[in-house]
């Protein structure tokens, strides 16, 4: 708590000093964008220093001993903790809050669009709310699974006691609050209204809020890069004895391949935003067509990151869903090796398809064919993931609890998203679908369907591990069905709207589209209200749900072999991995042994009995 207060004070001081110094040196006014830039940078440094980077890390650079914080209980979650489990929970809580904030913005958008004509928002306000919604949700999609479950589970799943760089991990998390503050503070400088994609020339000439967008999102990128670096290093260097690459749980592979993408390609996003900042404050002309610059350069740089970013969103999601499916259908994951190859080839292919977002941008014609072909190639490994999910479920002993509900719904949702993606990747159809509500529906099926449903799958699957308690399963299933049905009713009409000429990012539309829009809006409110139930399920489960015990799902991977929540440093003795993680149905199969007591880390074999229904 003390550190948090100090961080806020240092952050504000840093901002004021940075802005004031810049103002003193160059004159003008303290609200100028240059002053904001330097203020933000110093403020960010002050914040990190105050929250604990100074005490635990920077001191060592000057030969002083690092200080330790002896904090216990819930206060750990409000400070600079290097424990990967604390950081995982910090991410989880933060991003659920950001998700709900983004959801509020979505409700406002749908309220405006419920009827044709100008409602509560004028066109400018509409663009601002829409941009805020977009960037908040993209941030959730990129970081929520990797940040929370990546941190919480990866070290345990590979038999390690923490991440490879615990202090860096803490810094990675504490970079997030300034991002949120920066974005939410944008209205003080006139908001940003260029969408989450922030295309120039608009993003170079619009209100000052855009500079906060640029600074905040660049900070977010830095956090993604450092997080990715940490996850990869952890997986490569800290696996327990016997944990070969072929024995890694599939979620670890998902986190690994997503981290690979975010480690490398996020730099292009940073570059594109830095160039925007330079054009705004330093007088460069990169995107100024009149002075010889090229706005298309931005789109190339931006999509070189932002297409792969969609796989940063879904690859950990694939992992969480497949993990849930294999444990809860009591069958080994179908085609494990092929899935691993698919993950890696998705990561590889994802960097050569970016220009499918630019078919109508006026880029060179000869690029259309290759980018169309490459984009459609991605369906092959993605199809492999579907095959694995479905074939694992096939004739499994399905244990129909909330997480498996979500995982099975996920299959449908992501299928819808993927299939509609093919129409968008096809140049001929995309020319008329681009920038329409068809695209909006597509990416809500892929991101909300593919990432958020996977996130929810993970939340419900690992909830007992993290809190030590069970949720009310009946409510969980009601939530799953409520959300899913409302989702279809919200987004299916948007495909129709798109093919019938409704543009995206627009506050008004022709009256004949009113019916479908109204339907979408009403369903969106129903969808949004389901999250009240969601929050209730989580809180009531965490506070007074029945005790879960170490292994409520009777699952084989390492995180289930320790208490819930796991003890500090995860294991009391060094686990040794002796077999495949998903040995369901194979007599005598074992995943791991522990140094002290030998625990058979495999599910009990019960031939002939129904393993599905009676585990409680």
């Amino acid at each position: 708590m003390r550190q948090l207060l100090r961080a806020v004070i240092f952050g504000i001081l840093g901002y004021l000093i940075g802005a004031a110094l810049t103002w003193l040196i160059r004159g003008g006014s303290m609200g100028d964008e240059v002053c904001v830039v330097f203020g933000y940078i110093l403020g960010l440094i002050g914040w990190l220093f105050g929250i604990g980077m100074g005490d635990t890390w920077v001191r060592e650079w000057f030969g002083l001993p690092a200080r330790k914080y002896e904090v216990t209980g819930w206060k750990r979650y409000l400070g600079f903790s290097t424990d990967h489990k604390v950081i995982g929970v910090q991410y989880l809580a933060t991003f659920i809050v950001v998700l709900l904030l983004g959801g509020v913005a979505a409700m406002i958008i749908r309220f405006e669009l419920a009827q044709a004509g100008e409602g509560i928002l004028n066109a400018d306000r509409y663009n601002q709310v829409m941009s805020m919604h977009g960037i908040l949700m993209v941030a959730v999609a990129v970081a929520a699974i990797l940040g929370s479950f990546g941190n919480y589970l990866v070290p345990i799943m590979i038999g390690a006691d923490d991440m490879a760089f615990p202090r860096l991990n803490a810094v990675t998390f504490w970079l997030i609050p300034p991002v949120a503050i920066g974005l939410l503070a944008a209205p003080t400088l006139g908001s940003f209204d260029a969408g989450w994609t922030a295309y120039p020339p608009l993003s170079v000439v619009n209100n000052g809020g855009q500079i906060l967008f640029v600074l905040a999102v660049t900070t977010f990128g830095l956090s993604s890069i450092l997080g990715g670096l940490n996850v990869i290093t952890t997986i490569v260097t800290m696996r327990a004895p016997g944990m070969t690459w072929g024995r890694l749980p599939i979620f670890v592979w998902g986190a690994f391949s997503a981290s690979l993408i975010s480690l490398l390609t996020t730099q292009f996003f940073a570059a594109s935003l830095i160039l925007i900042a330079m054009d705004r404050v330093a007088g460069t002309v990169f995107f100024n067509g009149g002075a010889g610059g090229d706005p298309l350069l931005y789109q190339h740089l931006f999509w070189f990151y932002s297409h792969p970013a969609v796989y940063v969103m879904v690859l950990p999601g694939f992992g969480a869903v497949l993990e849930t499916i294999t444990h809860m259908s009591r069958k080994p994951l179908f085609a494990y090796k092929a899935v691993v190859v698919s993950f890696l080839s998705i990561a590889g292919l994802s960097v050569i398809v970016w220009a499918h977002h630019m078919f109508t941008s006026g880029m060179a014609e000869y690029l259309h064919g290759p980018f169309m072909f490459a984009s459609e190639m991605i369906s092959v490994p993605t199809g492999m993931v579907f095959l694995s999910a479905v074939a694992t479920l096939w004739r499994g002993k399905l244990w129909m609890k909330t997480p498996l509900f979500f995982a099975m719904i996920w299959i449908f949702q992501f299928l819808m998203g993927g299939v509609t993606g093919i129409f968008l990747a096809d140049v001929v159809t995309d020319v008329s679908l681009h920038d329409s509500y068809f695209v909006v529906a597509h990416f809500h099926y892929t991101i909300m369907g593919g990432m958020l449903f996977a996130f929810l799958t993970g939340i419900f699957f690992w909830f007992p591990k993290i809190t030590g308690r069970m949720i009310n399963d009946r409510l969980g299933i009601i939530f799953a069905l409520w959300l899913t049905i409302a989702f279809q009713l919200t987004f299916l009409p948007q495909f129709w709207l798109g093919t019938n000429g409704m543009n995206r990012r627009i506050a008004d539309y022709p009256e004949q589209l009113e019916g479908a829009n109204l339907m979408s809006s009403i369903s969106a409110f129903i969808l949004g209200s389901s999250f009240i139930l969601f929050v209730y399920i989580l809180l009531s489960g965490a506070i007074r749900g029945p005790k879960a015990g170490g292994n409520p799902w009777n699952a084989s991977t390492l995180e289930w072999q320790v208490s819930s929540p796991p003890p500090e440093h995860n294991f009391s003795g060094q686990p040794t991995v002796v077999g495949h993680p998903y040995g369901y149905g194979t007599a005598g199969s074992r995943h791991a042994e522990f140094a002290d007591v030998t625990v058979a880390a495999a599910p009990p074999e019960q031939p002939g009995t129904d393993q599905g229904g009676d585990h409680e």
Binding site: E70, T237, M238, V285, G293
Partner: protein, 195 residues
């Protein structure tokens, strides 16, 4: 559960075995990531201004700058080798040499900027790429000098030995990397194309 902020986890059973590997891999991954950042800016230069070059480029100064950085990489290498042999005196000298060469480089960049503003200001398309690329690189040189300073200072206080000098190794690798990026930027701005 008390929260420990022990530096990179001594409580780990296996810390001793994975720590060196983790440090090294972490640094290499960071450098790989940074390479993408430089690649983004370098390719931007070619996208917006092809291989066009302005009339007045101070080729002599650029060559001198290149030379300074290459020399500093040699001294950095020697500093690391010196620490690996517990030769502290040489370590001090070579670290200082590296830092001084780095500072000279920055001064040179200042001079170059000063000239360039007149010939091709920021508001021209070549100027944009020029100031952006060299500015980005100079920023990396600056962080490199700061890191070298920190390590030099700790080395002076006797923090490292031939057995245990990862920070020296790390900062020197970073310095080589910054040098390498210059080797890509120099031809991008000064050598390709031309008038």
């Amino acid at each position: 559960m008390a929260m420990t902020t022990t530096p990179e986890a001594d409580h780990s059973r296996a810390a001793a075995t994975y720590r060196p590997a983790a440090n090294r891999l972490g640094l290499w991954l960071f450098l790989a990531s940074e390479t993408f950042l430089f690649a983004a800016f370098i390719s931007s230069r070619f996208v917006v201004s092809g291989t066009d070059q302005p009339e007045h480029l101070n080729q002599g100064l650029a060559l001198l700058l290149t030379l300074l950085l290459l020399l500093s990489s040699i001294s950095a290498f020697r500093a690391e080798a010196a620490m690996a042999h517990d030769n502290r005196k040489l370590f001090h000298r070579e670290m200082l040499t590296t830092i001084v060469l780095g500072l000279l480089f920055l001064v040179g960049v200042g001079v170059e900027f000063n000239e360039a503003v007149a010939d091709f200001p920021v508001g021209t398309i070549y100027g944009s790429s020029f100031f952006m690329l060299i500015g980005l690189h100079a920023f990396h040189v600056l962080t490199g000098i700061l890191a070298l300073g920190v390590v030099w200072n700790l080395g002076r206080k006797g923090h490292y030995s031939s057995q245990d000098h990862w920070p020296v190794e790390g900062v020197v690798k970073y310095w080589h990397f910054v040098d390498l990026m210059w080797v890509a930027i120099y031809p991008t701005l000064y050598l390709f194309g031309g008038s």
